[in-house]
C-alpha cells in the first residue's frame, strides 16, 4: 500500500471508525481450509474482516462475509442490517456448501439480536451455533475443538478498547469547545480548556466500569467530570494569565457543556451499559414470562452480560443479574417460546414480535408511531399471556 493509502486506512480504522466501511461480501479462505475446516461468519465491516484475518493467521478456516452494510456485527444486528436473511443469502450465494463436507456454521454471538438461528437452520439445513462474543477468542475456540467457554460469552471492555472509545468522543467534544474558547479568550486558553476536557474524557473511560453511567446516579459522574475539568483548566489558566473572572466563568461553562454532550449517550457507546437515549427517558426492563419458559436456554447462551441463568431444579431460566442487563434484545429475539419481552416504566410492552420486526431500532420512531399503526394491542397483550396459541 502507498503511504497516503496507508494513512487513509489508518484514519478509517481509528478516528473515522464510527462510519461504516464495507468490504465485499462472500467467501474467503483463511490459511488452507479443506472440506472439514470450520465455517465462520462475520459482517462486512472492513475493520472487522481485517482484524479477523489477522487474528486467525496460522489457522485454516472458511470465512463467510455477510452483507451488513459495512457496519460492525453488533450494531448491524441491533439495527436490522444483519439478519437471518443476510446469513441465508451468503450461505447460498457463496457456494460454501460445495466446499465443505459438514454443515456447521458458527455465527458471532453478538449477531443474536438480528439473526434468528432457527430460521437459518430450517431454510438451509445448516446447523448454526453461537461462537465467542469477541473475535480475539476465536483462535482459542478453534483450538479447543470449537467449544465456547462461558467467559467468552461475556462482553469485556479492556483498557485499549476504552481508550479507543475515548479517542472517538474526545475530538468531537473538544473541537467545539476549542473553537468557542479561541474566539472568546485566545489560543492558549482554548488549548488549556480543550485539553482539560480531553483529559477528563480519557479519565472517565479509564475508570470504567467503576463510575455510574446508568440511572440517576450517572449525573454524579458528569457533574464530577465538569468540576474536575473546570478546576484543571482554571488552575492552568491562572498560572499563565493570573486570576480573571471572565476566563474562570467561560472555562467552567465550556467544561459543563462538554460533559452535557457526553451525557447524551456515553453509556450507549460502551458494551457494559444500556443506551440512555434509546429509551427517551422511558426506561424499560426485561421481563420473563416464567409460565412459558420451557428451559431451552438459548437466551442464556446469547446474553453477553450473564444476566440469565438456567435453574437446574426448576428446568427453567431465571433472571439472575437484572441490573447488568444492557437491553440488547438478543435473548428476546432468540427465545423460541416468546417467554422474554421488555416492559416500559409506563406499562407498555415491547413484544418479541415487535423487536423481531424492528430490532432495537428505537430512535427510529418505532416506539412512537409504528406500534399504533402496524402492531395491534393484541400483540402486546399476547406477550403477557401465559401461553401462546
Amino acid at each position: 500500500m502507498t503511504l497516503p493509502g496507508r494513512f487513509l486506512a489508518w484514519l478509517r480504522d481509528t478516528l473515522l471508525r464510527m462510519f461504516p466501511h464495507a468490504t465485499r461480501p462472500g467467501l474467503r479462505a483463511i490459511g488452507r481450509p479443506g472440506p472439514n475446516a470450520p465455517v465462520l461468519l462475520s459482517g462486512n465491516f472492513t475493520l472487522t474482516v481485517d482484524r479477523l484475518t489477522r487474528v486467525l493467521r496460522g489457522r485454516d478456516a472458511w470465512l463467510l462475509v455477510a452483507d451488513s452494510h459495512g457496519i460492525n456485527v453488533w450494531c448491524a444486528a441491533g439495527g436490522g442490517h444483519l439478519t437471518h436473511h443476510d446469513v441465508i443469502a451468503v450461505l447460498r450465494s457463496s457456494g460454501i456448501g460445495e466446499r465443505v463436507e459438514h454443515r456447521h456454521l458458527w455465527l458471532p454471538q453478538l449477531a443474536a439480536t438480528g439473526v434468528e438461528r432457527r430460521i437459518v437452520q430450517e431454510r438451509t439445513g445448516w446447523r448454526v451455533g453461537w461462537g465467542p462474543a469477541r473475535l480475539e477468542d476465536l483462535p482459542a475456540f478453534l483450538d479447543r475443538g470449537q467449544r465456547v467457554k462461558h467467559s467468552e460469552r461475556l462482553m469485556r471492555f479492556p483498557l485499549w478498547e476504552r481508550m479507543e472509545m475515548a479517542l472517538l468522543w474526545a475530538p468531537a467534544t473538544t473541537a467545539i469547545a476549542a473553537v468557542v474558547l479561541w474566539s472568546l479568550l485566545g489560543a492558549t486558553t482554548a488549548f488549556i480548556g480543550a485539553g482539560s476536557i480531553a483529559v477528563v474524557i480519557f479519565a472517565i473511560f479509564a475508570a470504567l466500569p467503576r463510575l455510574p453511567l446508568w440511572g440517576g446516579s450517572r449525573w454524579f459522574t458528569y457533574a464530577g467530570g465538569a468540576v474536575v475539568a473546570s478546576l484543571l483548566a482554571i488552575t492552568a489558566d491562572m498560572a499563565l494569565h493570573g486570576p480573571n473572572l471572565l476566563h474562570i466563568g467561560v472555562l467552567g461553562a465550556a467544561s459543563t457543556i462538554a460533559m452535557l454532550v457526553l451525557s447524551l449517550d456515553l453509556a450507549g457507546t460502551t458494551p457494559l451499559y444500556p443506551s440512555t437515549i434509546n429509551t427517551r427517558g422511558n426506561r424499560f426492563d426485561l421481563v420473563l414470562n416464567a409460565e412459558r419458559c420451557t428451559g431451552v436456554a438459548d437466551c442464556v447462551q446469547v446474553c453477553p452480560r450473564d444476566v440469565l441463568a438456567m435453574d437446574g431444579k426448576l428446568r427453567r431460566v431465571r433472571i439472575q443479574r437484572p441490573d447488568a442487563c444492557i437491553r440488547c434484545g438478543a435473548c428476546v429475539v432468540q427465545c423460541p417460546e416468546d417467554a422474554l419481552f421488555f416492559r416500559f416504566a409506563d406499562g407498555r410492552t415491547l413484544s418479541p414480535t415487535q423487536i423481531r420486526a424492528t430490532r432495537m431500532n428505537m430512535l427510529g420512531r418505532r416506539a412512537v408511531v409504528l406500534p399504533a399503526k402496524t402492531l395491534s394491542t393484541e400483540d402486546q397483550a399476547a406477550a403477557e399471556a401465559p401461553r401462546r396459541d
Binding site: 471508525r17 464510527m18 462510519f19 436490522g80 443476510d86 443469502a89 431454510r123 423481531r356 427510529g364
Partner: protein
C-alpha cells in the same frame, strides 16, 4: 459499537426511506411506480414484487386490481407497506424473505408477472443471477418480467456528466436513506442469460433510468 454514531443518526427507519426516496427523485418515484404498474398489472393478474420495500410498486399494481405479493427482507419496511395497504383498503400478500430465499417462498409457475424496482442494483452479481433464474421459475410460460433500475449513460461524455451529477446525489441517497446504489449496466444481458425471451431495454429520457422487460418463453 464503532458504528454507533452512524447507527443513531442514520438508522434506516422505513418512513425516512419513503420520504428520502421522494425527495431524491423529485417526486418522480410515484410516477415510476405508476408507469411500471400500467405495463404489467390488471384485474386478476398475479404479480410478484421482488424487493418491494414499502410497497410502492406493489400497491400501484393492487390499485389496478392485480393480486399482488410483495417480498422484502426488511420487516420494518413491510410493516409500513402493510399499514399503507390497510389505509387504502387494498389486499396484498407480504412475505418477509430475502431474494436468496425465493426458492423457499415462491411456487413454480405461480405468477403472471414479476416486477422489481431499484432492487436488482442492490444485489451481488451472483445473487442477481439467482434472482433472475428464480423469477423465471416463478412465472407461468409467457409471463412477464419488468425491472427498473438506475443505469449509467452510454456515451463517454454522458457518463462523465452523469458521474458528476450523481456524486452529490449518491451522497444524499446514503444520508437520507442509509442505502447505497450501484447503478446497473448490462442488466438486459443478464436477463437474457437467465433464459428470458423478448428482452427489451428502454431508457428514461434523463438516461439514468433503465427499464428491462422480458417474457418467460412458452417452450419450456
Amino acid at each position: 459499537m464503532s458504528s454507533y454514531v452512524y447507527m443513531k443518526l442514520l438508522e434506516s427507519t422505513p418512513e425516512r426511506y419513503d420520504r428520502g426516496m421522494r425527495i431524491l427523485s423529485g417526486n418522480t418515484i410515484d410516477g415510476l411506480w405508476e408507469e411500471l404498474a400500467k405495463r404489467i398489472a390488471g384485474p386478476g393478474i398475479r404479480v410478484l414484487d421482488i424487493g418491494c420495500g414499502t410497497g410502492g410498486v406493489t400497491l400501484a399494481c393492487a390499485r389496478r386490481g392485480a393480486r399482488v405479493t410483495g417480498l422484502d427482507k426488511d420487516a420494518g419496511m413491510l410493516a409500513v407497506a402493510r399499514a399503507k395497504a390497510q389505509a387504502e383498503g387494498l389486499t396484498a400478500t407480504w412475505v418477509e424473505a430475502g431474494v436468496m430465499e425465493l426458492e423457499d417462498e415462491v411456487a413454480p409457475s405461480s405468477f403472471d408477472a414479476v416486477v422489481s424496482s431499484l432492487a436488482m442494483s442492490e444485489l451481488l452479481p451472483e445473487e442477481r443471477a439467482y434472482a433472475l433464474r428464480q423469477a423465471r421459475e416463478a412465472l407461468v410460460p409467457g409471463g412477464r418480467l419488468l425491472l427498473a433500475d438506475e443505469a449509467a449513460p452510454i456515451t463517454p461524455l454522458g457518463r462523465l456528466g452523469w458521474r458528476l451529477r450523481r456524486a452529490p446525489r449518491a451522497a444524499l441517497t446514503w444520508i437520507l436513506t442509509g442505502q447505497r446504489t450501484h447503478p446497473m449496466d448490462g442488466l438486459a444481458e443478464e436477463v437474457r442469460a437467465a433464459g428470458f425471451v423478448d428482452v427489451e431495454e428502454e431508457r428514461a429520457p434523463a438516461g439514468d433510468f433503465i427499464l428491462v422487460s422480458a417474457r418467460r418463453g412458452r417452450d419450456t
